[in-house]
C-alpha cells in the first residue's frame, strides 16, 4: 500500500495544516496543534458541539466543523483517541457559556480522554456526552451500548448542529443527538485493508477474491468472510440486517447514507445505492435526503457501509436546516 506522505510521524500535523490552508474557516486552536475550531467559535448564545477521534477517517471527524454542524474537534493520531489536552482545548474553543455537547464514537481511548477532560472542566464549563453506537455488527442488540460508532454518526452531527444553531439548550441538544443515534443503524463491508503510516503491514489481511461483511472502520472483525458477491446481494443483506433491527416506532420515512471507505469509487457506491433505494421503497419507506459518497473513511480501505436513519419530525427538520462544512453543504 503506497502512500503520498513525508515522515510518518508528521502525517497528522501536515494533514491538518493542509486542511486549514485549503479551508480557512477551520483553524488550529491556539497552543494545541491537535485541536481544530471554526473561526466563528464560540458563537455567542449557542451551545457548542464538539467531536473527536483518531485520524485516518476524513471527512470524519475534523471535516464536519462548519456552520450548522460542529464547532471544534479534538484530533488523535491515526486510529488513536485524542489526548486529554486536545479534548480540553476543543471543548474550551466551543464554549460560549451555554455549555458543550461532546458527540463522538464509542471507543475506549476517546471515551476515557473526553471523560477526563469533562472532569477537569467541571465547574467551569457545563458538558454533556452522547456516544455514537450505530454499528450493528459490533455487538448484539441486547448490548447496544457496547456498539461502536461508524458512519451513522454524521446524522447525529447534523441534527445536533442544527439544534444548537437554532438556540436550543444543552440538555435538549444532547437529547435530540441521542435520539438520532438511537434511530440510526449502520453496517459495512470491506474488500481490502489499510495501512497505518509507519507500520510495516496492512491492519488486516484479506484474500484478493474475498469480502468481509460487518467489518468496522479500523478493520474490526465482522460477521462473515467469504468470496466476493454481487453488489445487489450485498445491498440486500445490509438492508435486511438493518431492517431486522429497526426501532419499534420507526415510521416510514428514512434517510440513507451509502458511504465509501476510501478506495471504493463513487460509481460502485451508486450501484449499491440503486439497490438500497429499490429495496427500501418496496418495503414501504420514503427516502429523504439520501447521501452517497465518502463521508467516513478508513484511509485506503476498499469497501462501503450503509447507514439508515429512521426519521421523526424533529430529526427530519434538523436534517433540512442549512449547514456548510468543507465536505458537505445543505
Amino acid at each position: 500500500m503506497k502512500k503520498i506522505i513525508n515522515a510518518p510521524a508528521d502525517y497528522v500535523n501536515e494533514m491538518l495544516t493542509g486542511l486549514s490552508a485549503a479551508h480557512p474557516a477551520l483553524e488550529r486552536v491556539d497552543g494545541e496543534p491537535r485541536a481544530m475550531r471554526h473561526t466563528d467559535a464560540p458563537v455567542s448564545g449557542k451551545v457548542g458541539v464538539v467531536t473527536g477521534g483518531g485520524s485516518g477517517h476524513l471527512p470524519l471527524f475534523t471535516g464536519y466543523i462548519g456552520k450548522g454542524l460542529l464547532d471544534a474537534c479534538a484530533i488523535g493520531g491515526v486510529f488513536e483517541g485524542p489526548t486529554v489536552d486536545s479534548c480540553i482545548a476543543a471543548i474550551k474553543a466551543a464554549d460560549s457559556g451555554k455549555g458543550v455537547l461532546c458527540l463522538y464514537g464509542n471507543y475506549g481511548g476517546d471515551r476515557m480522554n473526553f471523560d477526563l477532560a469533562c472532569e477537569f472542566l467541571d465547574g467551569e464549563i457545563r458538558t454533556a456526552t452522547v456516544l455514537g453506537t450505530d454499528d450493528i455488527a459490533s455487538a448484539e442488540p441486547t448490548e447496544r451500548h457496547k456498539r461502536r460508532g461508524v458512519a451513522g454518526i454524521v446524522y447525529a452531527f447534523k441534527v445536533a448542529g442544527a439544534a444548537a444553531s437554532s438556540g436550543t439548550a444543552l440538555d435538549e441538544v444532547a437529547a435530540i443527538a441521542g435520539r438520532t443515534v438511537d434511530r440510526t443503524r449502520s453496517i459495512g463491508v470491506a474488500l481490502t485493508g489499510c495501512r497505518i503510516p509507519g507500520s510495516a503491514a496492512a491492519s488486516f489481511s484479506i484474500g484478493p477474491d474475498e469480502i468481509e461483511f460487518g467489518m468496522g472502520i479500523h478493520g474490526e472483525p465482522g460477521i462473515w468472510r467469504d468470496k466476493l458477491k454481487p453488489a445487489d446481494a450485498l445491498a440486500d443483506e445490509m438492508v435486511d440486517r438493518i431492517l431486522e433491527e429497526k426501532p419499534d416506532d420507526s415510521g416510514d420515512r428514512v434517510s440513507v447514507l451509502v458511504n465509501g471507505l476510501g478506495a471504493t469509487p463513487l460509481e460502485e457506491l451508486f450501484i449499491l445505492y440503486r439497490r438500497v433505494d429499490q429495496r427500501l421503497r418496496d418495503a414501504g419507506f420514503t427516502i429523504v435526503r439520501p447521501l452517497v459518497g465518502p463521508f467516513v473513511t478508513s484511509m485506503e480501505m476498499a469497501g462501503a457501509s450503509l447507514s439508515i436513519c429512521f426519521l421523526d419530525f424533529e430529526i427530519e427538520k434538523a436534517l433540512a436546516a442549512p449547514a456548510e462544512c468543507p465536505f458537505w453543504r445543505v
Partner: protein
C-alpha cells in the same frame, strides 16, 4: 510498567524510576517490534509504536532533580500528552495514581510498591470500565502487584515480579478477550497474548535484570 522502575534496587526511588525508564527506552526497538506483531493479531498492529512514543516522551520529560512523586506525575502527564489510545491513557492513569501514593516519600519498599500498583490497577479498571479477568493490561499489573505484596524479601522483588507477570500471561493466553476491539472475536483471541499484558511482562523482565558491569 514504567512505574515499577528498576527492580534491581532495594526500593523504588526517583533515581531508580529514571533508571528504569532509561532501560525501557534503550530496549525500545525490540520491544516495539514484538508488541506490534502481537497487536497485529488482535488489533491494528500499532501498540509497539504507541508504547515507544509514550516511553520516549516520558524519558524526555523527567527532570533529574525531581522527587519520586514529581517524577511519577511528570511521567503521567507526558504519557497523556503522547497518546489518546486506550492503553496509553491507562498507563497515564496508573502513573498518576502512583504519584499520589508517593506523596511525601523519598522511596517505596517493593511491598509498598505492590500496594501502589494495586491502587493503580483499581483506578485503571474504573476509568477503563473494565474488570479483572477481562484480559487487559490491568490483569498483568494486578498480578505483579499481588506478587510484590506477597514477597517480603527485597532482593527477590525482581524475580517474583517476572514470575507474576509471566504467570498471568500464560494463564490468560487461553482465555478470551472480554473488552475492547478483541472482544468482538473473543473465540479467536484464545491462544493469543493481549499486547498490553505482553508489554507489562517484557518491561518487568528488562527492569529486573541487573545492568552489565
Amino acid at each position: 510498567m514504567p512505574f515499577l522502575a528498576s527492580l534491581t534496587s532495594m526500593s523504588l526511588t526517583a533515581e531508580c524510576f529514571r533508571d528504569g525508564i532509561e532501560r525501557i527506552r534503550a530496549g525500545l526497538p525490540e520491544l516495539e517490534t514484538e508488541l506490534n506483531a502481537a497487536d497485529a493479531l488482535l488489533g491494528d498492529g500499532d501498540t509497539g509504536g504507541m508504547i515507544g512514543r509514550v516511553v520516549t516522551t516520558i524519558a524526555a520529560a523527567i527532570k533529574p532533580d525531581s522527587d519520586l512523586e514529581a517524577s511519577l506525575a511528570t511521567a503521567a502527564r507526558a504519557a497523556a500528552s503522547a497518546t489518546g489510545s486506550s492503553l496509553g491513557t491507562l498507563v497515564a492513569i496508573g502513573l498518576l495514581t502512583s504519584s499520589r501514593f508517593a506523596k511525601g516519600k523519598q522511596s517505596l519498599s517493593w511491598t509498598e510498591t505492590g500496594a501502589v500498583l494495586e491502587e493503580a490497577a483499581a483506578a485503571m479498571l474504573k476509568r477503563g470500565n473494565a474488570a479483572i479477568g477481562d484480559k487487559t493490561v490491568v490483569d498483568a499489573v494486578a498480578a505483579v502487584a499481588k506478587a510484590l505484596l506477597a514477597n517480603p524479601e527485597p532482593a527477590m522483588a525482581g524475580a517474583v515480579a517476572i514470575a507474576g507477570a509471566q504467570a498471568a500471561l500464560d494463564e490468560f493466553r487461553q482465555r478470551p478477550c472480554r473488552i475492547g476491539r478483541a472482544r468482538m472475536f473473543a473465540e479467536r483471541s484464545i491462544g493469543m497474548d493481549d499486547p498490553g499484558m505482553l508489554a507489562v511482562a517484557r518491561i518487568v523482565e528488562r527492569l529486573a535484570v541487573a545492568p552489565a558491569g
